[in-house]
Symmetry: C3
Subunit: 330 residues, 3 copies
């Protein structure tokens, strides 16, 4: 039976190989700090191609032969389903490792590193969400396959920042020369910090609208001033609505306020509605990392300037571009 | 690096297009009420083709290029795995959104509609299970991709009713002229109500067997009488077993009885066993929406008239037919 | 509309058929006891082919047309993701049935057998993990598709034992003539028992290192002696480290000790570190079923003799070989 066994495969036929060997091939995606303008242009033009492909074909076989392990140590339906859709639309396979992660190996005392090295044995790339700051960078040191950081606690969520910037470019045609207003919780909002960092590479004006208790951290503000970026802060959207090209709105969480009456006082300054948008430019966009609570009135959804759902879709294209790039296929 | 970028795709090659543009293309599947006899015939003959395909090939590439988001706000392993298998056997991709849905966006206060519009950005069709009556219809108003209702609380579960009717037709060759007996909890049983509604389009006799406290609701009974359907009610299976072509059995839940002794009194009237089936026709079928508890004795499983597991398989074919139809591929 | 319906498929084209009809085709994989040396050689040489395929292609279409239901009644990220990766790399489809299994049908009182027969309607092979001893064998009696036991409580976990033996053969070139030392919890460790059973088919020397309270069960020891295997027991790794070709290390759980001071006394005898390995052969391997806690020092990971992560990867190839074999494709 074992002698002269008929082989299953004819392995001469074909070999899986990288098609594009550039700065992204086998690289980890850990932080927005690693992206130069040239890198951003590269990823954005690949994302454009992904958009065109999805519209025409829906899916393709670009990542046939590759497997993604999508490892989520905390639930984030939004981000995990975006990565799963991205990999599947590229013809790759997905091993979702979400549920049960807290019950099984971890509860037996296994370290994150051991888990990552174990998972690496099955796959070609890992997307990692973990509540601990620096977790993705630590994992990247110990495994050989590329790690894409899908959020490391209070740390970074680089693909979110990339999709935000891609949305601005895509909707308005360029980044230089724009006035971008960030609104809401600028202190704790991870997405605001990362996007601000990316924007600081460009010739933009930035406006920061928040309550006193939720202002942009000093370090970020100093960095912007050092770079000579035109920055101003304000308490009310009214101050920025007329000149903003981008209104980037975030959730203000009640829990951030030591005193609920403080929250009640300020919350209405940070709500975007139809009335407010009457005073905005005709060519501008409203963005939001979602989920929203009541920061943007539902009636705004029909306004063509409401870009937040297109922003979600852009996340798909950016993630497709990154997955393909780190695997040498874009 | 970004200039003269080698394109990844040659998008001239092919375009994803609907092959069949009929009444199902881009249509939501929300309720059995939307199905005419012609519609039912169409879906059933497509389901026949699916059955033949699965037997011969197992899977195919009919829905290559399409992605299903399978969104379950309450667990239903049975229904979700049937839809996942259906989409996968058709060569489509699946984004399962189940676990964690309660912890992540929803707990951040996101509305169902925002979640649905977000998920829509990644996919071509959505299957939705949600505990709230009318949820699928509401979602369908706000999203552009087709929604298939996989159960909206006390509302409807249309694919279950379609697979029930398909099973009857498939097992017995026709629907007109049959005597169908429904047994058990006819008051709360969603599947009984929907199947009854579908059957009322045909020339059938209906027999309803239940305890007094679980009789078919008056509105449904009046509707049947208005349509001139031959209906009778009874307390015991014995009254219908000899003439029934279809015995459709459902769970009777103890919790429905205010007094446990009432339950003990009646429960034995609603158990199907080998002894009972000796008095049934040779060509008849026993159906059950499953899971069963003790309504059908395990020894009945070997009787060729036990159709309840074939019924499960028919669910696969019906769901394949519907997915393909709403995407214009059947 | 229903007359002269254009058919969707041309079913003449092709038929899904077994390519290899041998002892594995349609067979359940329930226990290591069912594997003869000839069987093991067969599976191992198929696993070798899988390894070569994965390295060159990543994935293939060998199981195109086939669907696996991966049913886990208790979480085991490690095992389930290995099976999912295995099926996906072979081009098959996977229906993961994990989350929610405890809430939905089961909580409605459904029996394991009914669940298995239901799931069988959608798929071609079932992988089952269930906490109850004998559950897979019981399921196998009632369903027609092959069942692969992925752990039945204190019972068996045959694919783990196969991947362990495959690792030994793969790393050291043969099995006969080796000295294998098992270290740690030899009383409760399911993997130790199964691997011991497989090894007893070969001409090996076995060394068992454990605290008194965690010695190999008498029945196993007697079986080995009856077969004339060279066996010895010991309290310290030091006694075996110099001559072992394989050091198979397992977790020792504090909870196994009635008195914590007993644990503290012995635990250091069962830790593998760089210092210890200096005394080991140059050509030997350290194995561990993982997850580890502190039995193997992290610095050992870089030693080429540390085989435990390659062991994980071998699990992928063994599971690919078995899935393909029971479906008649290997």
């Amino acid at each position: 039976m074992t002698k002269h066994l008929n082989p299953i495969f004819n392995l001469d036929q074909f070999e899986r190989k990288p098609r594009f060997i550039n700065g992204f091939y086998k690289r980890d995606i850990l932080s927005v700090e690693q992206f130069s303008q040239e890198d951003l242009n590269y990823v954005f033009s690949r994302a454009d191609e992904m958009m065109a492909m999805v519209e025409k074909w829906g899916t393709c076989d670009l990542l046939k032969g590759y497997t993604l392990a999508c490892v989520f140590y905390e639930p984030s339906t939004r981000t995990s389903s975006s990565f799963i859709a991205a990999m599947e639309r590229l013809g790759g396979k997905v091993i979702p490792i979400t549920e049960g992660i807290q019950y099984s190996s971890v509860s037996k005392g296994e370290s994150l590193i051991d888990s990552m090295i174990t998972i690496e044995q099955y796959c070609d790339v890992i997307v990692l969400r973990h509540p601990q700051i620096g977790s993705s960078a630590m994992a990247a040191k110990h495994v050989n396959v590329p790690i894409i950081n899908a959020g490391d606690g209070a740390g970074e969520h680089p693909t979110q920042a990339l999709l935000d910037l891609f949305t601005i470019k895509n909707e308005l045609g360029c980044i230089n020369g724009l006035r971008v207003a960030m609104v809401g919780d600028l202190r704790y909002g991870r997405t605001v910090h990362s996007l601000t960092q990316l924007l600081s590479q460009y010739d933009v004006s930035l406006r920061f609208v928040s309550p006193d208790t939720l202002r942009l951290p000093m370090e970020l503000m100093n960095m912007l001033i050092d770079k000579g970026i035109d920055v101003r802060e304000s308490h009310k959207i009214e101050d920025v609505i007329e000149t903003a090209d981008v209104l980037y709105v975030t959730r203000i969480q009640k829990e951030r306020f030591p005193d609920i009456t403080q929250y009640e006082e300020v919350k209405n300054y940070f709500v975007v509605d139809e009335e407010l948008l009457k005073r905005a430019k005709e060519k501008m966009i409203v963005m939001h990392p979602l989920p929203r609570i009541s920061e943007i009135d539902y009636r705004v959804d029909k306004d063509p300037r409401a870009a937040y759902f297109r922003q979600v879709q852009n996340g798909l294209y950016i993630r497709m571009a990154l997955l393909a790039a780190v695997l040498g296929q874009a």
